[in-house]
Assembly symmetry: C2
Homo-oligomer: 343 residues x 2
Amino acid sequence: MIRIAIDAMGGDFGPEPIIEGLILAIRNNNNFTALAVGDKDILSKLIPTTFLNRIEIIDTKDVISMNDHATDALKRKESTIYKAIELVREGKADAVVSAGHSGATMSLATLRIGRIKGVSRPAIATLMPTSENQNTLVLDVGANVDSDAKNLFEFAVMGQAYAQTVLRLDEPIVGLLSNGEEESKGNEVTKEAYKLISKIPNFAGNVEGNDIFKGTVDVVVCDGFVGNILLKTAEGVADTISKIMKKDLKRSLIAITGAVLMRKVFKNLKVKVDYAEYGGAPLLGVKAPVIISHGKSNPKAIKNAIFQSLLSASSNLEDIIEKRLAKYSAKEESNCETTATTL
Amino acid sequence: MIRIAIDAMGGDFGPEPIIEGLILAIRNNNNFTALAVGDKDILSKLIPTTFLNRIEIIDTKDVISMNDHATDALKRKESTIYKAIELVREGKADAVVSAGHSGATMSLATLRIGRIKGVSRPAIATLMPTSENQNTLVLDVGANVDSDAKNLFEFAVMGQAYAQTVLRLDEPIVGLLSNGEEESKGNEVTKEAYKLISKIPNFAGNVEGNDIFKGTVDVVVCDGFVGNILLKTAEGVADTISKIMKKDLKRSLIAITGAVLMRKVFKNLKVKVDYAEYGGAPLLGVKAPVIISHGKSNPKAIKNAIFQSLLSASSNLEDIIEKRLAKYSAKEESNCETTATTL
């Protein structure tokens, strides 16, 4: 049985949608038990007694709020996210799911669970919808700013390993996000990263912003500053299109009738672009699966985040990342030796 | 009479849409004459003789194609874009419009027309639609990668001046694109740029990717690498939403009927997100108006680009940019002197 630690209080809407999502997950999957970290008085009222054989409540009252600084998280040892992370560190849980303060989750996971050997900086990966029957994994979408070429190289290795072992893609193709497809395009950091990433199999070279939504490649690598901006831009465009249409709709009864007839199309579109369908964003590069969920997660999003953590926990992702990074860095050293000998 | 030089051969679809756009512009505006640079044999067949009192053909046959390197542009002195730029340099034209090789246009404009005093790097600005009755000017969207804090500061000054003098906004608000709103957010370069831009009036601080489409501010400043990615991301999201819906539509006659009833809404949306409505992208920071149009420009886009160049040519944009940059740099120096005296 896989054991999932859940920060049951961290989301924007309190414990209700999180517990509801957890119960949905339990109903649909028999292979795990949960450690729900939060206020016992509150949680025990939300969890029907029939589920108590699958959910253990870990009682604690402090919650890191969205307004707190991520740096405070390390000192607040009684907080739900601190305790959830500690359960993994102590081997009492196999993975963590949190819809709480993402900066706090990231710092605690990195410092308390620790980085995989060879990883300089963990990265947050997220799935983006495409017009085809597939999604694109983009990383980093916000864990790091000012990533250097080596960081981007590690993101490429971690993203490819995740696509292979957790998303079960056969030979995931990796692209490097740039301002043009040609090898000559890019800024100083991506040009250097291009050379490093060329060492890994199935590297497609540079890709552009629109390639993410075309599904040109399976994994897109970028710096977290750029990744955050592209994520927010994508959200902004989708919201704006919907707003412009709604405004216009209100002006015409004919158009409203049309929208009613088209409701299935709109519903399918919503499903396709709804982050709740994708669960949460894995923090790649730490020694155990950590899933960072949206603060506004509904029960479906939490359910999917739990399923995602189960897939990760039953894979050998961390091993594969460690081995591949070791292999590539050995190659680099032996290349250096060859060069040295030649000289 | 304002004189506009037009690279009549540079677009992806040859001279037809460009001459058609030029004629549309002439029909709607009596205040300019055009210098159409291109193959006289071809152009004279496309231009009805009744328009020859407003259009002078400057005969030359060489065209820089999209596959040529921007660096070649400087050597090919008989090319349409080289000659169009030279017309401005020699004072025979007041502004340039080109749908040709944007890299070539940029290099030639920067090197042959020259930068405004105080500008380190010219930047490309573009208008993005919002859900409100306004647009957002974003710069730089591709002229520069690895911009430093001083470059971003100059983009802020140039963008604000353009919004004021050409877009006729009263007190344009400027935002700095970052990965969060708080002053503490950003990468090394944007954090330093934040301090510099704080010196100009109506600076709203950091803005995020979605703010561009909400219309939170009038001018958004970013590095060209990031600007290119956000532009392509926005295009990609809009295309993907349309593709997903079209695919779904095909499966249901009811939905198709709905789409027919909604066609006005879709048409309005298309107008709102169609770049042809916005004309071209001004290259800010050179001594004369240079409008870079999309290679795939249709006649409407060319017409609007010409109108845009007319607005710029009849403004005192270049003067204002020079004066403001001089004022801010004087302030900086006097601040330094004060500090030195205090010490």
